[in-house]
Symmetry: none
DNA sequence: CATGAATGAGAATTCATTCAT
DNA sequence: TATGAATGAATTCTCATTCAT
């Protein structure tokens, strides 16, 4: 008897994530996912009960670990140190998954999920925002940030948006924003300062 | 494509633009476009030779006028005055079309176009960038902006990206960024300044 | 502009009914229905929203007319005259549809219907029973039948069952029961009599 | 197919028979058969070479013993005594298998069997008819039955059909026919008598 | 020109069967 | 022998596109 093969499942998630990041949900065909993953088409269905569910799993894969690692980082360090690390963590993850999250915002409402699954889906897409909200609150408490223009939650949204800008850089043939650039841009927006 | 009924054509573009902005390309069905536009499904094909082409026309509709108006504005005014006006112009247009342009970045490579059409498509998606590049160059010449971090062209990409952030605000239940906020954010990023 | 073609719809129902009568629900493929009906596969879906629904429509096609004609017959005649006519009417209809109704009894619970559609489906499958119940009540009132063993409703079920027996005759290579045989058998079962 | 675990094989036949009687052939999934039987899905294939064959084995399981017992009964008793006993025997068996035999009449032609297997299948589905034909011949010889309307073979088909009627009673929410009712109905149909 | 009925290529999904362990 | 993971052929259903009216 074979054991259900976690490598195979991870390979499917990996390839599907790659494709979902490059293209629209509907432009990704399970035939291709199967082929690239080196599995039969039917096998996808032994691991994921539908294409929607596969999409969801690609999105949420590793999100919980990411979240707790991020919260840990926020807890253990001062805002500034944590912030730099968080940018690094987000760069790494959103380089791949950023476009998928953007996709999810548009296609999400069409997913065929049970009410429960849909709630799980929504709360998952918001975890990134929630985590960064915590971080920016800390920055505010430390007196480093200015909430005249943006609440911590809004800062978190802007934060995520900056990664989409990085994707746009790529589309327009520029190098993506590196960690230093992101730090600089975000601090310029949020830091307590006086404009001359 | 010109002699037919321009009202009908504009109505189709209007409704299709609305739908393409709200949803994924594939989640917009021509049945619905026809119904909302009050025309028969077949009629769409007398005005647009395919769904891809309709998508393209929705994107490019009014872009040329917009571009020349924007260039005029840049020419006639100082950077700061022009910049405020440009923000207003982009807010108005991208409120509707912003998500469609984001869509185009992902879906574009899949469009079934001739080489010529594809080039037209690409150059059109870049017009916004090109216009703003001109504007930011002017700001630089006037000594108001700092190109240490971003070239004028990169500034233009960031500029457009900020409108996507505004869309993200809406998704997350916040009010979209207004013109003042956009001005403030962008100037914080690009203005010559000293960070402490 | 073409009008939605009722001939085409009737042809689909006709051919599908034929196939559903010969085989299990699942052994009837829509490809074949389309081919035999001389229409494209997609056309079936312009007339019927799903295979389940097509099955339902095949079953219920003409049932209402049949029912009112049967009730009229019962009303206008004495039991015996009506009964002979009803047998003729049922022979004609159930020769084709009998096996489908048997199929429906087994597959029915698996049909993907809304609650409302399902109720309609159920009530339709029972119309034949209801009509014959009325007829047998009349026979009872006229003093011709014996309800010691069977209530009128049970008689109606037995009545329908006799047509399934006719189908079994065919399966076993015998000629189907003709109207006289059916009359004789049923009257032997239900008529007031003394067994020696 | 004999040396393996006969308990396991019988359990599979038992559960499969139950399911095949409740539902269409195609609505019975081997996954479910395996689960209910407490065996792995693959194990079904060590006992039965295909789903079709399992279906066949469910139908034919115990038929030979049943047949010889029935023939013995016919041999040892007068028609009337044997007939009552046979009804009892058929009630017991067809309560479970009746719907399956009805299914077999429709699905049979689609089974993927070798010519030899198919003949075995057909002859098995006819054993019940053959046995009862013998019984009715005896009744005829004893002068109890009337072959004006039905030959002994046809009587046998009607006999089996009555058990399907019993199943229809259940479907329509009536109690199934008991042995006395079946005896009464059948004797009314077949007994020598005079109708007024 | 305008229409919407008709179409069929293409996609997701199911499940009997195979086979590595 | 027993298992259940893996498979892909086969099926339903969708929707952009065509075309008769």
């Amino acid at each position: 008897m074979q054991r259900k093969n976690p490598d195979k499942m991870n390979k499917i998630i990996e390839m599907a994530t790659k494709l979902f990041s490059e293209r629209d949900y509907h432009d990704v065909k399970l035939d291709e996912v199967a082929r690239l993953s080196g599995v039969g088409k039917g096998s996808i269905y032994t691991y994921f009960k539908s294409k929607d569910y596969l999409f969801f799993k690609c999105l949420s894969h590793g999100v919980d670990e990411f979240t707790s690692k991020a919260l840990q980082t926020i807890k253990n360090e001062s805002f500034d140190g944590a912030f730099r690390k968080l940018i690094g963590m987000f760069v790494e993850v959103l380089e791949i998954k950023g476009p998928m999250f953007a996709s999810a915002r548009k296609h999400g409402p069409k997913l065929k999920f049970s009410a429960e699954e849909y709630n799980e889906f929504i709360s998952m897409t918001k975890q990134g925002i929630d985590v960064m909200t915590v971080a920016f609150k800390k920055g505010l408490d430390e007196g480093l940030l200015d909430d005249t223009f943006f609440s911590p939650r809004q800062m978190a949204i802007v934060f995520q948006g900056c990664f989409d800008i990085s994707t746009a850089f790529i589309f327009h043939g520029e190098r993506p924003l590196n960690e230093d650039q992101l730090y600089e841009v975000l601090m310029r927006i949020f830091k307590k300062q006086r404009l001359t």
